[in-house]
């Protein structure tokens, strides 16, 4: 996976299990894209709106239309299905007051809330609109790239499948037509990509592999890249294990014993993590980009460092090193 290849699309979905760091990866991809001069926006869906906070911006204040520039060339938006629906109605209905009436009508609100999958359709529709070279929203400036900070895996696939579902159920009429257009964009690999994010643990790897299978089987979409987040740097070499264990068995004083026990556990964890990264690589048929475990809270500096690592092909923590400070 090269970053250039990833960022050559207009629409990039970030998928993965809850807690694997999708938002961090979306922000890092956004930074890399903005660094190349691409006008980029990161779209949080399903109530996610964490990017402004990561960039140290006041999370409450929001710009016009929800789009908000965080640093030059990089914006964020929290997709709101209700607002997306109002936008859509205004775009579709020639008479403004009728659109206003509809969107403010409680009846219509009920229907919209009650129709299964409509929220997903409106969400993905808005994301698609952001990625259009000619925006449909009056006064909207086009973006070169939209990175979608998606919902956790299960709903992520549902999100991508929503347009096709509606195209099929509605069969004709504008919704069916628009949904079919959006679906065609989603399955066009030059236009849209899905990046899988995992952690080096069994649960996250299983879930990502399963997502890959579902995307391929249900929608014919291939993951265009895989990133493993939070991989501990390799500190201990193969033969260290027995030496550490031998020293531990040697009745060291308590303080030293504790440190040795921690070292043995870290060595064990490194092995598990490497095995999981390997299993993921085998499952997806390519080497994932590895991003390191970060102890500090993620802020702009940390994001920049991660984005530089991503550009360089990921963390190289696969050699044992001394790390003397």
């Amino acid at each position: 996976m090269t970053v250039d290849r990833l960022l050559s699309r207009r629409l990039l979905f970030v998928a993965g299990k809850g807690g694997v760091g999708r938002t961090t990866v979306a922000a890092v991809l956004g930074l890399s894209a903005a660094g190349r001069g691409l006008r980029t926006i990161v779209a949080g869906v399903g109530g996610r709106d964490e990017l402004p906070g990561l960039f140290g911006a006041d999370p409450k204040r929001s710009g016009g239309g929800g789009e908000r520039e965080l640093i030059p060339g990089l914006s964020s938006i929290a997709i709101d299905p209700q607002a997306a629906m109002e936008e859509y109605l205004r775009d579709q209905l020639p008479i403004g007051p009728v659109a206003d009436l509809l969107s403010s009508s409680r009846t219509f609100g009920y229907l919209a809330a009650a129709t299964p999958g409509l929220r997903e359709l409106l969400t993905v529709g808005k994301v698609w609109e952001l990625a259009q070279p000619a925006r449909r929203v009056p006064g909207g400036e086009p973006y070169d790239l939209v990175v979608v900070d998606g919902p956790a895996t299960g709903y992520g696939v549902g999100l991508l499948a929503a347009p096709r579902t509606f195209a099929n159920v509605a069969r004709r009429g504008p919704i069916s037509r628009h949904a079919a257009t959006i679906h065609a964009s989603l399955v066009d690999r030059r236009m849209t990509g899905v990046v899988g994010v995992s952690r080096p643990d069994e649960a996250a790897v299983n879930e990502l592999l399963e997502t890959g299978v579902r995307l391929r089987g249900d929608l014919g979409i291939e993951l265009c890249g895989v990133i493993v987040n939070g991989v501990g740097r390799r500190r201990f070499a193969g033969r260290d294990r027995s030496r550490l264990r031998a020293a531990l068995a040697d009745h060291p004083e308590p303080a030293v014993g504790r440190a040795l026990r921690l070292a043995v556990e870290s060595d064990e964890r490194e092995r598990i993590e490497r095995a999981e990264v390997g299993r993921l690589a085998e499952g997806v048929g390519e080497d994932p980009v590895v991003l390191p475990f970060v102890t500090e809270e993620i802020d702009l500096d940390a994001l920049i460092a991660l984005s530089e690592l991503l550009e360089a092909g990921g963390s190289t923590g696969h050699r044992a090193r001394g790390d003397r400070r």
């Binding site: 209905l93 009436l101 009508s105 069969r171 501990g232 030496r243 308590p254 070292a263």
Partner: protein, 388 residues
Amino acid sequence: MSSPGTGGVEADATGDLGRLLERRRICICVGPGGVGKTTTAAAIGLELAAGGRKVALITIDPARRLAGTLGLDELDNEPRLVDRRRLAAGGVDCRGELWAMMLDPKQTFDELVARLAPDARAREEVLGNRIYRELSSAVAGSQEFTAIAKLYELDREGEYEAIVLDTPPSRNALDFIQAPANLTNFLEGRALGALLAPTSLASRIVGRGTGAIFGILRRLTGIDLLGEVGDFFGALSGMLEGFGERAAGVAGLLRDPGTAVVLVSSAEGRPIDESIAFARELDRAGMRLTGVVVNRMHLDGGDASDPERVEAALAERLGGRLAGRVAANLRDFQVLAERDRAGAQRLGRELGDPPIVYVPGLGGEVDEIAGLARVGSYLFGAAAGGRG
């Protein structure tokens, strides 16, 4: 930075789930995604069963590894008994029974429809409707609803002395709490009813009857979509009362004094923020937290050791390079332990100091019964020499 191990634990746990769950029939594990909810729920179920109760564990288990751990070929939508000998092989002397199931939202929904349908025709009409098929599978909310519907079902059957529910990862506690109400609103068909009734608010505003608004919608949606929605509500009409009763029962169950709500988090910044928001929503919804579990804590073990002294003490035995790595690993651990301590303190403070139980990260071990039992020993206060 590497992610060091967890060390021998001297947990400063203040909670003991065993005591907190003593008189509870139901234990619901809630919390943000990726914090180990499934493992925590399984460990609670195992401990309760070991203590002598007949337990049903309802899990979501997206990674499908729990089935293997419990020695079941596959977890399906009906509870299966975990073999006592398998538990014994993992060092667990189980005096009760552990039954486990994995929630299948679609099947649970189908069963519900089958139970509530007045006759076979109505049942087939609903099950065959495309809107229904969409609703009952991947759509957000259906998993939350079916999880509590199943819980309600098992509780009413009265077969089990304790039911432990692992919930789907939602960002929003309200998704879960409101799932029954949202679904009832939907199923009661208020939307469509209001739309079609000549006296509806919308039609009065438009002033030209429902025809106008219906016409606009028809143009927008294509008539087939509306047709399907209409058929769906028509087919469901005979079951609405049953759904309504059920939703009311479920809502009551969530606030029942016999129901414990355990918030599961990890000590990292974002899960803590999400957990705090989660707890506030629960509070607003009138649900009281029974206790909090903080997973993957870097608990003690290294605090008392000075990295430089450790390095010096090991230099001769291990050589300078390896001794240096052991010391660097220790330093990393101390940073993480400090971070976790601060995070856990913040969580406790923000939640008004509920009982909190800390569980260290246990690596790959939780894939085995013995690993689950070890988690359980932290949860139930048996770890670290009975402290906490």
